[in-house]
C-alpha cells in the first residue's frame, strides 16, 4: 500500500511547528500504524532525509496508554475502542492522505513532533486520586462484600489507561471523562468512599487549575475512549461534586 503522510513536525516545545509531507510505499495491510511510522523513520534515517519522527509508544498492546496520535480527525484513528498501536493499515485505502497530529490541549504541551507532555494527568491523580489509608497486610479479596454490578462498574472505570484521547477528542479539551473514571473506580468501592468528598474537590480543582476545559456533553470522549469508558462516569463525577459541595462523602 502507498500513502501520503502529513506529519506535524516541531523541534521542541518553544519552536513553531509545521506539517511535513512524506510519501511511503510498500506497506503491508497487516502492518500496524506504529510499525508504519517505524518504517518511515528507518527510511528517514537511512536516506538522511530528516530527523526521525518522534512519537510516544511503549507496550504496543493497547495496555500502557503511551501511544496517542490524532489521525485524520480522530484520536487513535479510524476505529472504535482501540489505541493507536492497535490501528492497522488495512483501515485505510491505498493511496490515502493521512494527517497525523499530536494531542492538542493547553495542559498537554508538545514536547517534540507528536510527543506531548501528559503529566497534567499525573498531577490530577496526585491531587486526590488515591486512598490515603495505611492498609497494612493485603486483606482477603472477599473480606468486604461488594455487589457484583458495583464491582463491574468500578472495574470498567478502572480500565482507563490515561492515554488522553478523551481530552484530545473533546472540543473543549476537557478531562472530565478521565477524572470521572478515576473518581468512579474509587467512589464505587467501600475503601474509596471514606475520602470521596475531599478527593473529588481536590481533583476537580486541579483539573481547572491546569487549564482543561469543562464538559459540554458532546460525548466525543466516550466515542473515542479506547477502553470504552462511559459518560455515566462523568455523571457520577458531577454527583460526587454536588455531594462534596454539601460536605458529604457520597456512597454510590
Amino acid at each position: 500500500m502507498k500513502f501520503t503522510l502529513h506529519i506535524w513536525r516541531q523541534e521542541n516545545a518553544k519552536a513553531k511547528g509545521h506539517f511535513e509531507t512524506y510519501e511511503i510505499d510498500n506497506i503491508r495491510p497487516d502492518c500496524s500504524f506504529l510499525e508504519m511510522l517505524d518504517i518511515l523513520n528507518e527510511r528517514l534515517i537511512n536516506d538522511r532525509i530528516a530527523h526521525p519522527v518522534c512519537f510516544d509508544n511503549d507496550c504496543r498492546e493497547g495496555i500502557c496508554g503511551m501511544c496517542g496520535l490524532y489521525i485524520n480527525g480522530r484520536p487513535h484513528g479510524n476505529d472504535d475502542g482501540i489505541t493507536t498501536c492497535q490501528l492497522h493499515m488495512r483501515k485505510f485505502k491505498d493511496g490515502d492522505d493521512i494527517w497525523i497530529e499530536p494531542w492538542r490541549a493547553k495542559p498537554f504541551p508538545v514536547i517534540r513532533d507528536l510527543v506531548v507532555d501528559r503529566s497534567a494527568f499525573d498531577k490530577i491523580i496526585q491531587a486526590g486520586g488515591y486512598i490515603s489509608t495505611t492498609t497494612g497486610g493485603v486483606p482477603d479479596a472477599n473480606t468486604i462484600p461488594i455487589p457484583k454490578h458495583k464491582a463491574d462498574m468500578a472495574m470498567d472505570a478502572a480500565s482507563c489507561i490515561g492515554c488522553g484521547a478523551c481530552v484530545a477528542a473533546c472540543k473543549n479539551a476537557s478531562a472530565m471523562l478521565f477524572v470521572g473514571a478515576k473518581v468512579s473506580h474509587l467512589a464505587l468501592l467501600p475503601q474509596g468512599q471514606i475520602e470521596a468528598a475531599d478527593r473529588v474537590k481536590k481533583m476537580v480543582a486541579k483539573m481547572d487549575e491546569l487549564g482543561f476545559g469543562s464538559c459540554t456533553n458532546t460525548y466525543a470522549c466516550e466515542a473515542e475512549c479506547p477502553k470504552l469508558i462511559k459518560r455515566q462516569n462523568i455523571s457520577r463525577l458531577n454527583r460526587q461534586w454536588i455531594g462534596a459541595l454539601f460536605g458529604r462523602d457520597r456512597k454510590e
Binding site: W8, G73, R74, E101, V204, M207, G213, S214, N217, A223
Partner: protein, 268 residues
C-alpha cells in the same frame, strides 16, 4: 477580599439549573399560548395576560425570569470562552468523532435564541409602554364609570373601540388612543390576543416563528438530557428513560408553540 472561585462543574450546574427553570417556564408559556386558539374574542387569553401583567408576585417572578435568562447566557458564554482557551492550537483536520451535534451548536443556538428573545421582549414591553405600535384595550366597566365624570372621553372610547370578550373589554385602540384614554384616567393595556392573531396571519412572521422554534428544538433537545447529566442523574438505569422524556418534552413544547402559529395562519 478573596472572591471564592467557582469551579467548572459548579458553573455547569448553575447553567443547567437556570436552563431547567427556563425550560419549565417555556412549557407554561406554551400552554398559555394555546388559549390563542380559542375563538372567544380573547376572553381567556387576555384575562390570563391581565393576571400576568398586574399580579404583584408575578412581577417578582418576571424579574427572576429575566435575571435567570441573562445569567444563563452569561455563564454559558463565559464557559465557552474558557473552553476555547483550553485548546490554543486547533487541529488541522476537523473532528470525525461521533458526537452529539446539539452540543456543538448549543452556544450558537443559544445566542440566536437570545437575540430573538430580545425582539420578543421588544414586542412585549415596548408595546406595553406604548413605544411600539400595538393594539390596546381597556375594561368596559371603567368606560361606563368614566361616563359620569368625563363623558367626552367615554364617548371617544366607545366610538374608537369595539366591544370584545362578551362585552368585558373595549379593544381595537391604537397608540394615540392609548395616550388619550390614559390622560382621561383609564387603565389601558395591550390586547395581546388580537395582536397575536393579526401577526400570525402574516406569512413571513409565521416562517420566522417556525425557524425560531427549530432552533429552540435543537437547544432543548440537547439541553434536556444535558441537565440530567450535569446534575449527576444520568445513570445506566435511567439513561434511556431520560432520552425518551427529553424527546417528548422537546417535541411537546415546540409543537405547542408552532401549532398556535400554524393554526391561526390557516384560520383555526
Amino acid at each position: 477580599m478573596n472572591i471564592p472561585k467557582i469551579h467548572s462543574i459548579s458553573k455547569k450546574i448553575l447553567v443547567g439549573a437556570l436552563g431547567a427553570f427556563l425550560s419549565f417556564f417555556l412549557l407554561f408559556h406554551a400552554s398559555a399560548n394555546l388559549l390563542i386558539l380559542r375563538h372567544d374574542d380573547g376572553e381567556w387569553y387576555n384575562a390570563f395576560c391581565h393576571f400576568m401583567g398586574t399580579y404583584s408576585i408575578i412581577k417578582v417572578f418576571e424579574i427572576g425570569l429575566l435575571a435567570a435568562l441573562l445569567l444563563h447566557a452569561i455563564l454559558a458564554i463565559w464557559l465557552a470562552v474558557i473552553n476555547k482557551m483550553a485548546r490554543p492550537v486547533s487541529y488541522k483536520k476537523p473532528t470525525r468523532s461521533k458526537t452529539h451535534t446539539g452540543s456543538k451548536l448549543q452556544v450558537w443556538t443559544g445566542i440566536l435564541i437570545f437575540a430573538c428573545l430580545i425582539l420578543h421582549f421588544t414586542d412585549f414591553y415596548f408595546v406595553k409602554s406604548g413605544w411600539v405600535k400595538g393594539k390596546y384595550m381597556t375594561k368596559a366597566e371603567k368606560v361606563v364609570a368614566l361616563n359620569a365624570t368625563q363623558p367626552d372621553a367615554a364617548n371617544y372610547a366607545e366610538q374608537h373601540g369595539k366591544y370584545s370578550a362578551k362585552g368585558n373589554w373595549l379593544t381595537n385602540f391604537d397608540k394615540e388612543d392609548k395616550a388619550f384614554l390614559e390622560a382621561a384616567g383609564l387603565e389601558v393595556e395591550p390586547d395581546f390576543y388580537h395582536q397575536a392573531r393579526e401577526k400570525f396571519k402574516i406569512l413571513h412572521i409565521v416562517i420566522s416563528y417556525l425557524v425560531f422554534f427549530t432552533v429552540v428544538w435543537f437547544h432543548l433537545r440537547h439541553g434536556f438530557a444535558a441537565v440530567f447529566q450535569t446534575f449527576g442523574l444520568y445513570n445506566y438505569k435511567y439513561s434511556r428513560a431520560i432520552e425518551i422524556l427529553g424527546q417528548i418534552y422537546t417535541w411537546g413544547v415546540c409543537l405547542m408553540f408552532t401549532i398556535v402559529v400554524i393554526g391561526v395562519y390557516f384560520g383555526l
